[in-house]
Amino acid sequence: MRTYILKRLFLIVPTLLGVAAVVFVIMRVIPGDVALLILGGDQAGHIDKAQLAAMHKQLGLDQPLINQFGAWLWGVARFDFGTSLWTGRPVIEELLGRLPLSLELAILATIVSVVLAIPMGMLAAARQDTWIDYVIRVVSIGGLAIPSFWVGILIILLLVIYFGWGPPLEFTSPFSNPWANFQQMVWPVVTVGYRYAAVTTRMTRSTVLEVMRDDYIRTAWAKGLRERTVLIRHALKNAMLPVITLVGTEFAFLIGGLVVTETVFTLNGVGRFVVDAVAHRDYPVVQALVFLIALGFVVVNLLIDLTYAWLDPRIRYR
């Protein structure tokens, strides 16, 4: 097990370096000069050449690319992502202010999805090709098909028309006022959770179906066990691995998925931060956020693989 963990940790390094390089290159090919943007306006003619050169020097843009990359990596290693061009505050500070909201949304949506999806997926599998199965399948395919921003728009529309409710502008922490926080988070959680639950339901259904054809399940039936025991004690336990992987990967991807939901509900979270930064051409912020989201994904993936190896000893020997 220890060799496996070390091997996996070692493999992370080239991936992260690659991610950093890709992010860096993407930000460099974007047309437009950051220094020009800071000094105001895209029209090069209006700006003093000396001033521009000074700004280049200040931003380190006069250095060779490889040095710039090195400097950025060194910053990343010390959790220093530079300052936002838009607000002038350190990126990490801006991020930490927005992280709790996105994290709460992601965690609540995960809980909702797991609680709904696993029983639904099992039910659909146990009653394959009956009307129950068809209803669950159609509802879950719907969850994949209906764009989350549209669900958000419709929910807001209904709330505004029937209850005169509008999305609040300030985020209330669950620790200071749980009720206000609940009112604020419930609809975004429903919006995100529906899609998430749909994906998980489909995965649960197909893995349970696959497992139900195994020999030990026939043995369990032959022993005369009740359906509930066969399903939960025998089938579910063995069907859980791919489902756990999916829940983990989806969680890691959720920050990306929150981009639209947070925009619809005007929640000031990490996803919204990405969109705003892209719109303002706030390069240090986009660079930092894309890298951190990718980093989060890599780390969650590593944790999933380690859980897998821990649960299923066969994987370690591959």
């Binding site: 991936t15 690659g18 890691a252």
Partner: protein
């Protein structure tokens, strides 16, 4: 090598009754009613997109300042938007953008990914290790964020949106096809072709590629729906197609949300169109997977 083997010829006589194309379609409809429903939805969408010019009752770009925010009625089935443009005509023309972006982006992404996957699997060794790492790196970026970053570099134009959506598909397709190609590679006919002196190119194109067609097609249909969704999300966020192009995502952005209270139909119909299109592709793709995946077919 033109020697005739009469014995073998008789042995190859069809044991399974040959199904005509029509029979196959009919049996698909009977066995997979959900899949057939999906196919029907897609067919209708494609029809509307192709003949939007003829079917649409109004010009999707033409403003009519006399009747903005008109309720759905006999003259405007889906109502009009803030400029008095006919929402139904815009939804119909929107099908063109959605289907075009969806088909092209998933075709490009899946094809490039499939080729890389096959090359990776067949070459093995350092090439495989290198390509796998590159795919790992691309996979680490969430789909939408990667598309967002690429779209912000290239700017809002349909062809750039296609690029932004197809790039994140590449590693996903490569991974699936590589796994399938690894299994195909172990077959004796691949070894035989190699020992008969077939070039690498010939082995890959003639022997491996045709045998990974099933996962490729499954991937293609699966990605179609999500490509349409990504296009809608990008346009919604203002990084996809630009006004006045009638794109479903764009129709939902900005104005639709702010006028929603007054004219909910502006936000309602484009959303239904997106959901229906993606729903159709997912239903069809699911059933196609059941039919094409030999592993599922045997067990069923």
């Amino acid at each position: 090598m033109s020697v005739q083997y009469p014995l073998e010829r008789t042995a190859v006589a069809p044991l399974v009754p040959q199904l005509t194309w029509g029979d196959e379609v009919w049996s698909f409809i009977r066995k997979k009613p959900l899949g057939a429903t999906g196919a029907l939805i897609i067919a209708v969408m494609i029809f509307v997109a192709l003949f939007a010019q003829v079917l649409a009752p109004y010009d999707p770009y033409a403003p009519d300042y006399a009747s903005p925010f008109a309720r759905p009625s006999a003259s405007h089935w889906f109502g009009t938007d803030e400029f008095g443009r006919d929402v139904m005509s815009r939804v119909m023309f929107g099908a063109r953008i959605a289907l075009f972006v969806g088909f092209v982006a998933s075709f490009v992404g899946c094809t490039v990914g499939a080729l890389l996957g096959v090359i990776s699997a067949y070459s093995g060794g350092k090439v495989d290790l290198f390509l796998e790492r590159v795919m790992d790196i691309l996979l680490a970026f969430p789909l939408l964020i990667l598309a967002l970053a690429i779209a912000s570099i290239l700017g809002p134009a349909v062809r750039f949106v296609v690029v932004a959506i197809s790039v994140p598909i590449i590693p996903r397709a490569a991974r699936v096809v590589r796994a399938a190609a690894l299994a195909v590679k172990e077959n004796q006919y691949v070894e035989a072709a190699g020992s008969l002196g077939a070039s690498r190119r010939r082995v890959i194109l003639q022997h491996i590629l045709p045998n990974v067609a099933a996962p490729y097609i499954i991937m293609l249909t699966a990605q179609l729906g999500s490509a349409i969704l990504t296009e809608a999300a990008l346009s919604y966020l203002g990084l996809g197609t630009a006004e006045p192009t009638p794109s479903w995502g764009l129709m939902l952005s900005g104005s639709a949300a702010s006028y929603a209270e007054k004219a909910p139909w502006i936000a309602l119909f484009p959303g239904i169109a997106i959901s229906l299109a993606v729903f159709g592709f997912n239903l069809f793709g699911d059933s196609l997977r059941d039919v094409l995946d030999p592993k599922l077919r045997k067990k069923a």
